[in-house]
């Protein structure tokens, strides 16, 4: 029962536990973006309250910003969409009025909120981190308890730096074995959700364990934790280890000197004790994974790239109707080989797969090759810094030489708020996290894949594993 990473982080943040009420949890870092915050700031102002801890609050603009054009910091970056421009200027005003640090368009620290937190060293083991965004689970890769909240809760955190939370159940997902070379953290994440289902994690915080998780880089661990919410879980966590500490050392907000040593002692004490038990447990054999491709309209509906579109008739009755609906929406026939499915759009980016490691993997595949003439392919780095690092390595050249669009940082086609959208009937291979109906644009059809598969698919024009190109 006790001695779990989740309990340790939870317990140390309980400010009060009133009888018969959820605990009041202290929040160590609050990430804010333009889309889910305006109504929260408005609520704060209407009630005459202030931001309690502007120093534990950080903001950026990512969801509906353009990903073309901006390069340097400016107060009034022109945004064509008047509603998006209004949200962005509202965020500027709110941050200025409340003394909140903001990384606006043009700043080297601007980017997708879940990419910049870790990159700045603001995401550290043992912390509680919240954001008005469900993929806040990403930060759990560092052994933080991190979860998404709604706008009323954003207002609550702004005003009190705390949240009321009923304690979720603890689930363990153990991934053992050696991951095949053709697979990435994305394939682990999709494999887990396939096993768990989209409701398997509801009411739970997942701890990812096992040799295949330990072997992942921080970028890979973030990909796995990012998709916890797609299995319904509130959060995902990975015990911090030397990989974590190596990533954090020397970052802008990482502790230094004697404080670093004290922090390390603390962080080392967080791992789940041997023999601890969980409310639910599942096991995944990483060595049996193959590159995953989703075929439906929820992230659990995936098969390996070697497979065919499943026959809904062969599925359990409960899943059958959903599968039929999904295939009708996706315009796919059972029995079609995944490799025979033609795409017209490839999107590489998002808080799932928009970090440097992801861009390296994709660039490696496209290097010296050409994007298929029937495909529009874009790469949208997760942050301005990732973009700069990729350019320093020359990755942008591989992409642009092949025919990819090389963009500035933002959420872009992950949710299609900024004009980067699929048109009705278009079909994408996307490295993002949600294949819901219309997620990338009304009527658009999304297949979730890893960056390597997305890159190979851009070259071939249909679903392709990198190894097929050799």
């Amino acid at each position: 029962m006790t001695g779990r990473l989740f309990d340790k982080v939870w317990d140390r943040h309980v400010v009060a536990s009133p009888q018969d009420q959820p605990a009041l949890l202290y929040i160590d870092m609050h990430l804010v973006h333009e889309v889910t915050s305006p109504q929260a700031f408005e609520g704060l102002e209407l009630s005459g309250r202030k931001v309690r801890r502007p120093d534990l609050t950080v903001a950026t603009m990512d969801h509906d910003v353009p990903t073309t054009g901006f390069g340097t910091a400016t107060d009034d970056w022109p945004i064509d969409d008047p509603l998006a421009a209004q949200q962005v200027s509202r965020l500027r005003r709110n941050c200025a009025e409340h003394g909140i640090t903001l990384y606006p368009l043009g700043s080297i620290e601007q980017g997708i909120v879940h990419v910049i937190g870790p990159q700045l060293g603001l995401t550290q083991p043992g912390m509680t981190i919240v954001c008005g965004d469900s993929h806040t689970s990403t930060h759990g890769a560092f052994g933080a308890l991190a979860f998404g909240i709604g706008t009323t809760e954003v207002e609550h955190v702004l005003a009190t730096q705390t949240l009321r939370e009923a304690k979720p159940a603890a689930m363990a997902v153990t991934v053992d074995g050696e991951l095949p070379a053709s697979c990435t953290a994305k394939d682990i994440a999709l494999g887990i959700i396939r096993a768990l289902g989209v409701r398997g994690g509801v009411g739970s915080v997942i701890e990812y364990r096992g040799s295949a998780i330990r072997a992942l880089s921080m970028d890979g661990r973030m990909t796995v934790c990012n998709m916890s919410i797609e299995g319904g879980a509130r959060a995902g966590m990975i015990a911090p280890d030397d990989t974590t500490f190596g990533y954090l050392e020397g970052r802008t907000h990482s502790p230094r000197g004697a404080l670093w040593e004290r922090a390390l002692d603390d962080w080392r004490s967080l791992a789940t004790a041997e023999g601890a038990t969980f409310d639910h447990e599942i096991h995944i054999d990483a060595s049996a994974l193959r590159p995953a491709v989703t075929w439906g309209t929820n992230p659990a509906q995936s098969v390996s790239i070697d497979d065919v579109i499943p026959d809904p008739g062969a599925l359990a009755p409960a899943a059958r109707q959903a599968a039929q609906r999904a295939l009708a929406y996706m315009n796919l026939e059972p029995g079609t080989a995944i490799r025979d499915i033609v795409v017209d759009t490839v999107f590489i980016g998002s808080c799932t797969n928009g970090r440097l490691e992801d861009l390296r993997a994709a660039a490696e595949v496209v290097r010296g090759r050409t994007v298929h003439p029937g495909v529009r392919a874009l790469v949208v780095p997760g942050s301005a810094r990732v973009k700069a690092q990729a350019e320093a390595e020359g990755l942008d050249k591989h992409f642009t030489d092949a025919g990819f669009e090389w963009r500035s940082a933002g959420c872009s086609m992950c949710l299609g708020m900024n004009g980067d959208i699929l048109l009705p009937g278009q079909r994408s291979a996307s490295t993002s996290n949600r294949n819901f109906e219309g997620r990338q644009g009304p009527g658009g059809r999304t297949h979730l894949v890893s960056p390597a598969v997305a890159a190979a698919t851009a070259v071939a024009g249909h679903f392709t594993a990198p190894e097929d190109l050799r």
Binding site: L24, D28, C95, T160, L259, N298, A322, F436
Partner: protein, 204 residues
């Protein structure tokens, strides 16, 4: 926010599982900076189908939505709750809710009634027979009834959520009663924990 005791009225049956927040309110609507004005966006894509539940006669007066498992999965957008409320819904009955959607609903005063899958099936059957039947979600008694069909199904709602719905509480005011505890906690936080320079907009 006004308290909610019981909600009675017509219901819309949405017999689907895993209804995600992207369907409830598509991303294009999230550019609004207000909490209102989302009714047209509610299930925008699905409403293009004339047979969709919300397009059936009488649905425009409905106060209760009945759905399957894992309603509201996906994104954290509270706009999904605001859109349901804007359309006129005061309660959602389902055999399961996604975690963030649940929190958002209670925050915004949308009553949630989690019934068993069997109870949901009975409710769907009753509504298929009589789509205009009056449904009552009694928050105080934690039971949903369709009297003409003789149905009375208990539902799950935590004591705390029930209390907040009944009283229409301002959560922040409630929490600020713990001001001393919060300040005490802050005094003991780890010295290595990150903080930003206050007021240093665009600083590091």
């Amino acid at each position: 926010m006004a308290g909610v005791q019981r909600i009675s009225g017509r219901a819309v049956a949405l017999e689907r599982n895993d209804v995600d927040t992207d369907q409830i309110i598509p991303a294009a609507w999230l550019k609004r900076v207000e909490r209102t004005g989302f009714a047209t966006g509610l299930f925008e894509a699905w409403r293009k189908d004339p047979d969709f539940a919300l397009n059936r006669p009488g649905a425009e007066t409905a106060k209760i939505l009945v759905a399957g498992a894992n309603f509201g999965c996906g994104s954290s957008r509270e706009h999904a709750v605001w859109a349901l409320q804007d359309f006129g819904f005061r309660a959602v009955v389902a055999s399961g809710f996604a975690d963030i959607f649940r929190n958002n609903s209670i925050s915004a005063g949308l009553a949630l009634a989690q019934v068993t899958p069997d109870a949901a099936t009975r409710l769907f059957s009753a509504l298929a027979v009589d789509p205009a039947a009056e449904v009552t979600v009694d928050v105080a008694a934690r039971v949903v009834t369709i009297a003409p069909a003789g149905l009375s199904e208990p539902f799950e709602l935590s004591d705390f959520a029930q209390w907040r719905l009944l009283e229409g509480l301002d959560d922040v005011a409630l929490t600020l009663q713990y001001e001393a505890e919060i300040a005490g906690y802050e005094a003991g936080r780890g010295s290595w924990l990150p903080a930003l320079a206050p007021g240093a907009a665009d600083g590091t």
